[in-house]
């Protein structure tokens, strides 16, 4: 299984897989020039990963997501939901700055879309 490691830029988050912990971390801000192009390899990797290893945690710390990134994230959640329905060990930890209620709103909207464990953690950055 190949790993995934996308470096952070001003408008794109860092996305990296921690093999030991089985965690995919997404950190930063997300407003790429073309969100669909940016997230395509991530979605492809998650699909591949779930086919081989039926467990994954997403650890998300994204302070801002533009509307097209939101759509890409929802597609990613659908993949995870499928894996969960098939008995996979799936969960999400969503971290947000307690001074940034928009990130909390977004997390709550995403949480409503899935049935696997989704914890929302307030932190002080």
């Amino acid at each position: 299984m190949r790993t995934l490691n996308i470096a952070q830029s001003q408008s794109t988050p860092q996305i990296s897989y921690d093999r030991q912990e089985h965690v995919l971390r997404i950190t930063g801000e997300s407003y790429p020039e073309n969100s669909f192009e940016f997230y395509a390899p991530v979605t492809a990797w998650v699909k591949e990963h779930l086919a081989v290893e039926n467990r994954l945690r997403l650890d998300i710390n994204v302070s801002y997501m533009n509307s097209s990134s939101t759509k890409c994230m929802l597609d990613l959640l659908d993949l995870l939901e499928d894996a969960h329905q098939k008995g996979g060990a799936i969960d999400i930890v969503w971290r947000y700055d307690r001074d940034n209620p928009r990130s909390l709103d977004l997390a709550e909207e995403f949480k409503e879309e899935v049935t696997f464990p989704f914890s929302i953690v307030s932190e002080e950055f």
Binding site: Q10, Y31, S35, Y64, N66, S67, S68, T70, R102
Partner: protein
């Protein structure tokens, strides 16, 4: 051109930042960062900073995607005007760009339709659009305007000026309360 006069006008109108010219993704990034840093020093609620930034990003990316999709040549027609101003306690994000005259009817009916929705219907409509299939080659998810309306709470304002037989100039304006 009298730069001093331009500067006076900017000050009188509360214009914090204004860009005019051909714009790229990296200009969107750089200006966005400048706006965030500027607002962070203004001692306003973080949520207002986020909303101004979000309105700015959705607006500029919408304009850029439109100019790309419609293959409007770069240079004068392919450029956009972007402005962030503060009036009393309200931030105003405005963008203007050239649009094909044939697109005006669809665009304005879309904005009018969004303005007619209350917050709950707006959220439902955003979710519905997020769940719908996009045509291949789409550059955006089709919810930028609704996202701006949601964050503003006071609707989207627009105006149109005819340029010639082919083009008009479309200006979109959104207000964000300081909270």
């Amino acid at each position: 051109m009298d730069l001093f006069q331009l500067r006076e006008q900017f000050s009188n109108d509360g214009i914090m930042m204004c860009f005019n010219g051909p714009f790229s993704h990296s200009i969107i990034e750089e200006m966005g960062t400048a706006i965030k840093n500027h607002l962070a020093n203004e001692n306003i609620a973080r949520v207002a900073v986020q909303d101004v930034f979000a309105a700015y990003i959705e607006m500029t990316q919408n304009a850029r995607n439109y100019l790309t999709r419609r293959d409007i040549p770069t240079g004068d027609t392919g450029s956009a005007t972007i402005m962030i101003a503060k009036k009393d306690d309200i931030y105003v994000v405005t963008s203007g760009n050239v649009v094909l005259r044939e697109d005006i009817a669809e665009l304005t009916s879309r904005v009018d339709g969004i303005n007619a929705l209350d917050l709950d219907s707006l959220k439902k409509e955003i979710r519905r659009q997020l769940r719908s299939e996009l045509p291949p080659g789409s550059l955006g998810a089709g919810i930028g305007l609704m996202e701006m309306a949601k964050r503003s709470g006071s609707g989207l304002e627009y105006s149109i000026r005819e340029i010639d037989d082919r083009f008009s100039f479309f200006t979109l304006r959104v207000q964000i309360q300081q909270a």
